[in-house]
Each structure stands twice: as structure tokens, then as C-alpha cells.
């Protein structure tokens, strides 16, 4: 039920050659049923079940998969409803619309498959497939910049993923040496169960490959160089999916392996690596934000910053993992909303330069207002969810006895904070840019985006009990 809808949507879009609008509507409606399936999954998981299906537990969804499936299906639905799939004309021609319907749906499908596959080999295949399907969508409008961005993305992404494959092979190697070859050896459940007997040196080497490999896709510095280019040049709905959930799916793969490695050699090893890469990512993102002149790139660097934060959180014990997972959900909501809003701004102003956008609040009062509120959410101000998760993360850090680390991270976040507020001010106020029509048109896309913001506010005020229970289960999976 979870995986079917996007696959069906893609097949339908591929099969129907005359570019009819009903195809777009069908995949949009189907995307809602994916969300429904994810929520059902949530209910089952909270009842204590682990949902499996297929021969040999081929698909398996525990709490961690459920959280990711929720994020992916929500953002996938946003992209299906607000993306070129339903666009009415001037921006995209029929062929581009069809391409988006096919590959957008496939992209969602591969991400959902990655987070529900029990077999780490298939997880790898699915994540590699996310690179391919999303890369096809970056140059939807062929320009020099988008071609460059897609080339960097596919090359760096593929190499990263290939290294992750190396890590998977090394993990399998360790397992085979222990108990011999068997078909189920790549199943996460089997690996996890035999983890305490794995050889520390080999599994550590495997994890280094895994972290560098999937970390490339998650946008961790210093492998992040493709990310700002791809996010800024991709069509906005795709940027929303990539930034909101693709990075999270890549981190999911790392976390799956982390659980195995932690059970084999304790948490010290993974903690050190996480902190190193996480802090480096935050630092590079913070200083790149200062010199940013392009608002889509600004959002992209902010994604690197948040990925780094999640990594640091994962290194801070059970409390930190809890905070990191909450942060992942908040970030998926906030960043997909922001990229879709940025798409509206770009559509009106025709430029991604911060300097060319001024008087946003006068030109598009609703979009501008949401954009401003979303930006405040992204930089971690109350009353939004990201404030709560960052706060929880810092508390976990102090509780784990790492005050210096937390001080450093806090200082870097302050740098990001100040520079993003500055950029935001420049865009919101001032006289409207000459030649840009004033007045809001086409208001209904703002409804789902407003709902995202409302959800962020809710998460900033209370932590609903079902969500809390889900996050606790995830912590048990990762840290036990």
C-alpha cells in the first residue's frame, strides 16, 4: 500500500502519451494514499508490531522506517500537488510535465523502497536509483547551469554511492567469514542479530566506507560540493524533495549500519566520526551562508547545516538520537515548504539572486509572510518545531558531558542565524523590484504550505504522544 501508489503513478504517466491532466491528478490523489499507508504503519508500529511482507521478510518497517516513510510520503505528496505534474502551462511544456510525473513518482517510490527494505543490498540499490531518478529531473529546463549541476550531482553522487557499496560488501564479508554464505546474510535483522560477534576492525572499516558513501548523498562536508548546485538549479518541487527527504533517506542508511556497528564495537567509534563530519558540515555551511547571494543556495547550505546538526545529535547518546530524529522530521517539513515558496518567488521575480528580490512583502504578501515565518523556523526560533529539537539536542549534549562541543556548535549556529536574518531582511522589505507585478495570484497552493507551517508550530508547542512513542522506539532500535 505504501509503495504501490507512486509506482502506479509513474507507470500511468509513462503509459499515457497524450499529455492529459488527469494523469497528474491521479498521481496527486495516489500520493495521499501513500500518506494514509504511512499513518497505518505508524499505528501498527505503536501497537508493538513490526510490519513485514514478502518472502523472507523482504520488506520490513519498524519505527525508524515509519518515521522516514511518513516524511517521504508527505513531501512526495506536496511535490505531486504543487509541482509541474499539475501545472497549467506557461512554465513547463507537455514533455517536461510528463517527465516530471514519471521520474518524480519513481523518485518517491525508490525512497520509500529504500526505507522499507530489510535487505541492505536492496537498500543500496534503491538509494542508487534515487540518484538516477532525481538527476533526470534537475535539467528539466536545459541551461548551462542546470546541466553543470546535474553532471556534478550524478558523478559525485554515484561515486559516493559506489563507496557505500564497498562498505556493504565489507560488512557482508565480515558476516560471511563468521557464519558462511547464506541468502539472508544481507538482511538487516540478521546482521544486527550477529553484530556482537563481528570483527571490530573490519566492521569499522566498513562503516567508514558507508559513512563517506551515504554521507556524500546526505550532504555531509567535505563531500557536500554537489548539493548547493543541485538544489539551486533543480525545479523547486524537486529541490523540496531532495532537501527535505533525500538527505534524510541517506542518513537513514547510515543509521541502519550504525545500529550494527554500535552493537559490534560500542558507540565510541561512530560518535567520533559523526561529531567530526557533523561539526565540519555546520562550520562550512555557516560561513558559506555569510557570503551567499542566491536564496536557493542559501536554503541548500542551510540543509547542510541541519544535516550536520542531526549527525552531531546522533553522537550524543539516547537523548541526542531522540532530538536528531525529531529534528529530521521538523527539517523535512520546514525545508520542503521553503523550497516550494522559493519556487513561487523565483516564478514572480525571475531571478534567484537575493539582490534582485526586494519588497517581497508588498509584492506577494501571503507568500512573503509564509517565507519569512518559514525562515525564522529554519534558523531555529520559537515557537517552531526546529527550536524544540535544537534545544533538546543541546540539552542532550550538556547531559553527555560535551559542553565545549555544544559551545562551538552554538557559535556556528549564531553565525548562520545572523547571516540568514540579514538576507531575509533584504528580500522582504524595500521598494518592490522594478518591473515585477504586485499582488498575489493563485492562492490555493499556499494552503498545504500553510499547513506545513501550522504543523511546525504544533511541534514547537507540544510533542504529540504518538510521535513521542515513535521516537522512543527509534532510540531503542539505534542505541540498544
Amino acid at each position: 500500500m505504501l509503495l504501490g501508489p507512486p509506482l502506479l503513478g509513474a507507470l500511468l504517466a509513462a503509459a499515457v502519451r497524450p499529455y492529459r491532466r488527469f494523469v497528474g491528478w491521479t498521481s496527486a490523489v495516489l500520493s495521499l494514499s501513500s500518506i494514509g499507508a504511512a499513518v497505518t504503519l505508524w499505528r501498527h508500529v505503536l501497537a508493538g508490531d513490526v510490519v513485514t511482507s514478502g518472502p523472507g521478510e523482504f520488506l520490513r518497517a519498524d519505527a525508524l522506517s515509519t518515521l522516514l516513510a511518513l516524511c517521504v510520503s508527505m513531501v512526495g505528496a506536496l511535490a505531486a500537488w504543487l509541482g509541474p505534474g499539475l501545472a497549467t502551462g506557461e512554465d513547463y511544456d507537455a514533455a517536461q510535465t510528463r517527465r516530471f510525473r514519471i521520474f518524480g513518482n519513481l523518485f518517491t517510490f525508490t525512497m520509500l523502497f529504500a526505507v522499507t527494505s530489510n535487505n541492505v543490498g536492496f537498500m543500496w540499490i534503491a538509494i542508487e536509483a534515487t540518484t538516477i531518478t532525481s538527476a533526470m529531473l534537475i535539467p528539466l529546463h536545459v541551461t548551462k547551469a542546470s546541466v553543470e549541476a546535474s553532471w556534478k550531482y550524478i558523478l559525485i553522487g554515484s561515486i559516493g554511492i559506489a563507496l557505500a557499496f564497498g562498505g556493504t560488501v565489507l560488512g557482508y564479508f565480515d558476516f560471511v567469514n563468521l557464519v558462511g554464505r547464506q541468502e539472508a546474510a544481507l538482511n538487516w535483522t540478521v546482521l544486527r542479530a550477529s553484530a556482537p560477534q563481528l570483527h571490530p576492525e573490519v566492521i569499522q572499516l566498513a562503516f567508514v566506507f558507508i559513512l563517506i558513501g551515504y554521507g556524500t548523498k546526505a550532504g555531509l562536508a567535505p563531500m557536500h560540493t554537489w548539493l548547493p548546485d543541485a538544489h539551486s538549479e533543480a525545479p523547486s518541487p524537486l529541490s523540496a524533495m531532495m532537501s527535505g527527504v533525500l538527505l534524510a533517506v541517506a542518513l537513514y542508511a547510515v543509521i541502519r549500519w550504525e545500529a550494527v556497528v554500535n552493537a559490534a564495537v560500542g558507540t565510541g567509534f561512530t560518535d567520533g566520526l559523526y561529531i567530526g563530519l557533523g561539526v565540519l558540515s555546520i562550520a562550512i555551511a555557516a560561513f558559506s551562508l555569510v557570503i551567499q547571494r542566491n536564496y536557493k543556495r542559501m536554503l541548500a547550505y542551510s540543509s547542510i547545516e541541519h544535516t550536520g546538526l542531526i549527525c552531531v545529535g546522533l553522537a550524543l547518546g539516547p537523548l541526542g538520537t531522540f532530538a536528531a530524529m525529531l529534528h529530521l522530521l521538523n527539517h523535512a517539513l520546514a525545508k520542503s515548504m521553503m523550497f516550494l515558496l522559493a519556487g513561487r518567488v523565483l516564478h514572480r521575480y525571475g531571478s534567484t539572486e537575493i539582490g534582485r528580490v526586494s519588497g517581497l512583502l508588498k509584492v506577494m504578501p501571503w507568500t512573503g509572510g509564509l517565507f519569512a515565518a518559514g525562515m525564522l523556523a529554519v534558523i531555529g526560533l520559537p515557537p517552531f518545531g526546529l527550536f524544540i529539537s535544537e534545544f533538546a539536542l543541546f540539552r542532550a549534549g550538556f547531559a553527555a558531558g560535551r559542553p565545549w562541543l555544544m559551545g562551538l556548535v552554538l557559535a556556528l549556529l549564531a553565525v548562520a542565524f545572523v547571516s540568514m536574518i540579514g538576507h531575509l531582511n533584504r528580500m522582504l522589505y524595500g521598494a518592490p523590484t522594478a518591473g515585477v507585478p504586485v499582488g498575489e495570484r493563485d492562492l490555493w497552493p499556499l494552503v498545504p504550505l500553510g499547513a506545513c507551517l501550522a504543523a511546525l508550530v504544533v511541534l514547537g508547542v507540544v510533542l504529540p504522544a504518538p510521535l513521542q512513542a515513535l521516537l522512543r522506539q527509534i532510540v531503542e532500535i539505534v542505541e540498544q
Partner: protein, 218 residues
């Protein structure tokens, strides 16, 4: 029996690595393509050897898949592209030949260092080849970083995948067949997408020199 097996597998792995090193000192995409083709054929042969001595029927299928995909289909597509871009002159790589050979030597040594725990642990007669496979992975990575032509970068990437396939077959007698099939599918799809992008680069920039891809900074 085992000693023949282990010698053959090491010989095969060395050949696979040497074909990878050709990228460092030859100029010209034609030479690179034939190096890649031969490398894939030898890799497929190594897989057959492991299948025969290791008595693993599944591996024959893997070997056949490797030969078909990387020995036949991809080289043919590469040649097609090469004909299309034949008029373009070769470029100096970022690192000259002599230094890249030195760097690669160090990388292979590093491969030995990294795989030491693996070799110490493994009981398989093929274990001595694993450092060579890791060496190929590292050298290919270096090739991708240091070359300026999009086509050469793709070949470097394909060789990196060959290195990983070799590592899998030597270290574990291959990953489960069904996973392997998925990997093949991904390799093919990924390659096709890269091919599309190379044509796009050629169309928009009128060259496949990636040094021109410098519009996006900071």
C-alpha cells in the same frame, strides 16, 4: 588445488589493476575504452575461476552478466560517444603522468594497508587479491578527480565499480545473485543517464571539457 586457485585469482586481480593503471599513462579515449573492455573481460574471467574452484553455480551467471554488460554493451555505447566527440583534442590532466603514477603507487600501497585486517581474517584462497581490488578502487577515484574530460571521468567511475565487483567476488565469492542483478540494473541505468548528460554538456557547452563547468560557485 588451492594454490593454483589462489595464484590464478591473484594473477587475474593484478591484470584487472594494471588495466586500470593504463588510464594514467596513455592519452586518448580509444585506449581508455579498450583498457576498460579488457579489464571487464578479465574481471569476468576471474569470476569464472572463482565459480569453478569455489563450486558456486550462481557466480557463472554473474560472470555472464559482467561480460555482457561491461564487456559488450557499455563499451559499445562508449565507442559511439567517442566517435561523436572524436574531433576534440586531448587535454593535459590536472596532474602530470609521472606524478600520477607515483600517487597511484602510493594509493595501491595504501590499499594494502587498509585491507590488512581483511586479509588476516579471511580463510579464502582468494584473499591475496583483495588489496589489489582496493588499490583499483582508490586509483580509479584518483582518475575521476584528476581528469578534465567528462568521458574519461565516466570510464574512471566504471573502473571503480569493477574494483568493487572484484572485491566482492574475491572476499565473499560474490554477493547474493538477486542483489547482484539489482546492481547490474543500476549500473546500466546510471550509465545511460550519464550518457544523456554528456550529450547535454556537449550541446550546451560545445565541448565535454568539465573545466568549463565552473559557473556555480560558493
Amino acid at each position: 588445488m588451492d594454490s593454483v586457485f589462489s595464484q590464478l585469482s591473484v594473477l587475474g586481480s593484478s591484470l584487472v589493476l594494471i588495466f586500470g593503471l593504463i588510464l594514467l599513462w596513455r592519452r586518448g579515449v580509444t585506449a581508455y575504452i579498450s583498457a576498460f573492455t579488457w579489464q571487464s573481460i578479465v574481471l569476468s574471467a576471474v569470476t569464472v575461476i572463482v565459480a569453478y574452484f569455489g563450486k558456486d553455480r550462481e557466480l557463472y551467471w554473474v560472470a555472464a552478466g559482467l561480460l555482457l554488460l561491461k564487456g559488450l554493451v557499455i563499451p559499445r555505447l562508449l565507442k559511439q560517444m567517442e566517435r561523436r566527440f572524436a574531433a576534440e583534442r586531448e587535454l593535459e590532466p590536472y596532474v602530470n603522468t609521472a606524478s600520477s603514477l607515483v600517487v597511484s603507487g602510493l594509493l595501491v600501497l595504501f590499499g594494502y594497508a587498509v585491507t590488512r585486517p581483511l586479509v588476516a581474517l579471511s580463510q579464502l584462497p582468494t584473499r591475496a587479491g583483495m588489496p589489489l581490488a582496493m588499490g583499483l578502487v582508490l586509483v580509479s577515484l584518483f582518475v575521476v578527480i584528476s581528469r578534465k574530460k567528462a568521458l574519461t571521468q565516466v570510464i574512471g567511475f566504471l573502473m571503480l565499480e569493477n574494483g568493487l565487483a572484484l572485491l566482492a567476488v574475491l572476499g565473499t565469492y560474490g554477493i547474493p545473485l538477486i542483489v547482484e542483478l539489482g546492481v547490474f540494473l543500476d549500473v546500466l541505468m546510471g550509465f545511460l543517464v550519464m550518457q544523456i548528460f554528456i550529450y547535454q554538456i556537449h550541446e550546451t557547452f560545445e565541448s565535454i571539457d568539465v573545466e568549463q563547468l565552473n559557473r556555480l560557485r560558493h
